[in-house]
């Protein structure tokens, strides 16, 4: 079986995908991941997960341009300039 390995590098960090190991069961996967991803003290913790247990999600769709979800959907510069001029607080152009 293939087990995917996730590692936490330091306390406070999230688990990140590190790679995979081949092992007959979880006891062996534990030992082998311990070796491959921790023998040089490079991780404080690991998760080993059978590859079959992982369900991928990739069906992201944005056909109609949902720009209100993104920073580029908001253009404040022109409006801000006009508002400052109206309030008399516009700074001289630099």
């Amino acid at each position: 079986m293939i087990y995917e390995v996730f590692r936490r590098e330091r306390r406070g960090q999230p688990f990140e995908h590190a790679g995979s190991v081949a092992a007959p069961d979880v006891a062996f996967a534990h030992a082998y991941a311990h070796e491959q991803y921790g023998r040089r003290g490079e991780s404080v913790a690991l998760w080993v997960v059978p590859r079959d247990a992982i369900h991928g999600v990739e069906d992201f769709v944005d056909e109609l341009g949902k720009n209100y979800h993104r920073v580029d959907g908001y253009s404040l510069k022109a409006k801000l300039k006009e508002a400052r001029e109206r309030a008399g607080t516009a700074a001289p152009d630099r």
Partner: protein, 211 residues
């Protein structure tokens, strides 16, 4: 036997077993075991080193500059098994169990340095025990493994002081009446000389040099 002698025995056992475990480098049955055995070997050499450092100014000199006859290691660790995996695992399993008993004793030493070191060694050995247990479970029903355990039982007893042998016997459900049974320390096996020669050849090539 005084504590110094006891420590030297453990250090020499760890040094030589580390050597034997390293013989699987590059040729273990699966790559993952190659890596695992390397970790175990490094721990063993590290333990030997820490003990030699307690016993002498120059740990390397103590580790490598004695004559072959003057090493206190036990026959169990001297035997050459590559490429026999069954005997190799049987030795690991028996050794870890026996070693756990004698480390437990050391943890009770009056010397804080010794007790402290024993506690550290004990914690590092947790991985070895897990690994041995994993293989023991996998190979339990395999005839060649069971034969290997049988064959090496006297050697496992020979690793320990007489006082500790009954506990080992209980652990494995075997007789530990050892007067006739155990392969005692003090007589090196045939494989030992060749090991000693290879282990010390570079060092002997330029005596007194720094490497």
């Amino acid at each position: 036997m005084n504590e110094r002698e006891r420590l030297l025995r453990i250090a020499d056992d760890e040094l030589v077993l580390g050597w034997r475990d390293s013989e699987w480098t590059g040729i273990a049955p699966v790559l993952e075991e190659d890596v695992a055995f390397s970790s175990i070997a490094q721990n063993e050499i590290g333990h030997a080193r820490a003990i030699y450092q307690l016993l002498a100014e120059d740990a390397d000199a103590l580790a490598f500059d004695r004559d072959a006859a003057d090493y206190a290691c036990s026959p169990l660790v001297e035997l050459r098994f590559v490429p026999d995996w069954a005997r190799t695992i049987a030795r690991r399993v028996l050794y870890e169990a026996a070693d756990e008993l004698r480390i437990a004793r050391l943890k009770e030493s009056d010397e804080p340095e010794v007790a402290g070191l024993a506690a550290k060694i004990d914690r590092e050995e947790a991985y070895h025990r897990m690994h041995a247990e994993m293989w023991h479970t996998r190979l339990r029903d395999e005839p060649r493994y069971r034969d290997a355990l049988e064959e090496l039982w006297p050697y496992a007893l020979g690793l320990l002081d007489e006082d500790d042998r009954p506990s080992l016997g209980e652990r494995f459900g075997r007789a530990s009446n050892t007067v006739l049974l155990a392969a005692e320390r003090g007589v090196h096996v045939e494989d030992w000389t060749e090991l000693w020669e290879e282990m010390t050849m570079v060092r002997r090539s330029v005596p007194g040099a720094a490497w």
